[in-house]
């Protein structure tokens, strides 16, 4: 029987939530192809506890390699594991998450397997027996529909796009994978959490972004207060102009040379809407623009626009949102 290999992710022995999206998508493809879902789970001690979650998300077999050496991303061992599974089974598709780790690992695996890779897809399906995907290019200024003939097809899924549920559970057999850490060429020796306990802009479901119109980094407390009012699923973003000016760290930058985000709700405050910024946020569910200039291009993509002084609007907005959330 053919298999779909779902490559999951863990950090410090904890399964990363995006792994459910990868396994559930594998389940949907497997049902279409009459295949089974094999999930690969590498991690530190305790990572085995994530197997139940993967079974629920649709995994028939979960191959676990629990090893102190795999607490952090272990690229060389992970490549070996994927390659061995592809050789041991009749593997039709290998699915990864298009995260920092998944993008690194999927490219390495593609080179080792000698198979093409489609990165960060937003749709995946089967047409006439071949995998067909849709993926944004030019930071989302265009979408390409791509056919990947042959097997296995390697695909990484954009996080937050594919449903993590709505599929039947898999058989959930757990097997220990005999995987040696070996002598890696590339060693990940530490993970350092960001300075602030803040959600990454690519992972948040609400993003509040500020631009030049905020006039200076000292005014960011107004945006931080709005994020705080919106609750734990909200985080800060920034335009290229303010990152280049050194007001905000580049990790917060949204746009073609920053991060491409698709939150459910996006606030663009004091951002005029340069093409490269629009490319990074135009797939957001609902866009709210706040800008002094009624002619700013950002208003062309915003579902809702407010014209006026952000310094007056922001405190009122935080207040009203707190009122409706409480």
């Amino acid at each position: 029987m053919a298999t779909i290999l779902a490559v999951t992710e863990s950090r410090a022995g904890e399964l990363r939530p995006v792994s459910r999206e990868v396994v559930a998508t594998a389940r949907r493809l497997a049902d279409e192809l009459g295949a089974e879902v094999e999930a690969l789970l590498l991690g530190g001690p305790g990572v085995r506890d994530g197997a139940g979650t993967l079974a629920e998300a649709g995994a028939d077999r979960i191959l676990v390699a629990e090893n102190e050496e795999f607490r952090l991303y272990a690229p060389d061992a992970a490549v070996r594991a994927v390659r061995e599974r592809c050789e041991a089974t009749d593997c039709a598709v290998v699915l990864f998450a298009a995260t920092a780790q998944g993008k690194d690992l999927s490219a390495r695996c593609a080179a080792r397997l000698g198979r093409p890779l489609a990165t960060e897809v937003t749709e995946v399906g089967i047409e006439d027996g071949a995998v067909v995907v849709v993926r944004p290019q030019y930071a989302g200024k265009a979408y390409a529909r791509i056919r990947i003939p042959g097997a296995p097809a390697l695909v990484s899924l954009r996080p937050n796009v594919f449903s993590a549920g709505g599929v039947p559970a898999g058989r959930g057999e757990v097997e220990a994978l005999d995987l040696d850490a070996g002598t890696p060429r590339t060693r990940v020796t530490a993970f350092e959490a960001g300075e602030r306990e803040q959600l990454d802009v690519s992972e948040a479901s609400i993003v509040v972004s500020g631009g030049r119109g905020m006039q200076g980094p000292e005014n960011w407390k107004l945006l931080e207060d709005l994020v705080d009012a919106l609750g734990p699923k909200a985080t800060l973003g920034a335009s290229r102009a303010v990152v280049d000016a050194g007001w905000r760290p580049h990790g917060e930058q949204v746009g073609q040379t920053g991060k491409v985000v698709s939150p459910g709700l996006y606030f663009a405050v004091g951002i005029s809407g340069a093409i490269q910024h629009l490319a990074g946020m135009r797939t957001a569910g609902v866009i709210v623009a706040i800008n002094r200039d009624p002619e700013a291009p950002i208003f062309n993509v915003a579902n809702y626009g407010l014209v006026g002084d952000a310094f007056e609007i922001l405190p009122r907005l935080a207040e009203e949102i707190r009122a409706v959330r409480s």
Binding site: P116, Y138, V188, V307, I313
Partner: protein
């Protein structure tokens, strides 16, 4: 230190993308091409390291059409010593590009092979790690910090929610992210000198792409925009719409 920097000619990020009449490619008319912005961080890193030690060399390589010579010339103007054009139209399949680059680089002597973390046209983010695997070299992608002591490399790699510390020994591969450094602008003198620097060119034959582009389409249209009002007095109406109409609060 001997560095090789792989760069790519791409449409500028301010370009409006139009689809060509074949429905599968970009309409090149009116497009301004530049060096992919992340490649500038890779090149700056190589140049700064050579300057700091006063020894070594920086070679820039691109796989691209004849016009990509312009991109190589701008890299030479920034300070690279020599350039290599692998003449071919880059396909959508990152592995085909990686194999051609690996073939060209195999047997060359270098300490550090640098790339931008991704080219901003295909956004594939594949080639650096693929070339590393094909050449059996260690590799760190999305690098925002780099320390090299002797032959030992410590790279800081941007991941969701923080950074990973990646260590390996030279020779190795890094893919640069914004934040690694501040790329320089070419000086007038640099531009003049670039004309005299060696630029080798070679035709390469690529394998067939393993990815078949069926169709390229514009992004889905946004809903009709609407101005809710002016100033702070319009805030309650905005919040009402977000709750009742959009249901996002």
């Amino acid at each position: 230190m001997k560095s090789i920097v792989c760069i790519k000619r791409v449409p500028d990020s301010e370009t409006r993308v139009a689809i060509a009449s074949d429905g599968r490619s970009l309409d090149p008319s009116g497009v301004k091409y530049v060096m992919s912005p992340y490649d500038e961080f890779a090149l700056e890193e190589a140049l700064a390291r050579k300057e700091a030690t006063g020894e070594g060399s920086v070679t820039v390589v691109t796989l691209g059409p004849e016009a990509a010579k312009e991109t190589l010339r701008s890299a030479l103007a920034m300070g690279a010593d020599e350039a290599l054009l692998l003449r071919a139209d880059p396909p959508a399949d990152g592995l085909v590009v990686a194999r051609a680059l690996a073939d060209a680089l195999r047997g060359r002597e270098f300490d550090l092979l640098l790339f931008g973390k991704q080219a901003i046209d295909d956004d594939n983010m594949q080639v650096p790690a693929m070339v590393a695997e094909l050449l059996e070299l260690p590799c760190a992608t999305v690098v925002t910090g780099l320390e090299i002591e002797g032959r030992h490399v410590t790279a800081h790699r941007e991941v969701e929610g923080g950074h990973e510390v990646v260590e390996f020994d030279l020779p190795g591969v890094i893919a640069a992210q914004k934040g690694l450094n501040k790329p320089r602008h070419p000086s007038v003198r640099g531009i003049m000198m670039a004309k005299k620097k060696p630029l080798e060119e070679r035709d390469v034959t690529l394998e067939a792409s393993g990815l078949e582009i069926l169709k390229l389409t514009p992004p889905p249209a946004r809903p009709q925009p609407e101005i809710v009002g002016e100033g702070a007095d319009a805030v309650p109406e905005l919040v009402r719409r977000l709750r009742e109409e959009a249901r996002v609060l």
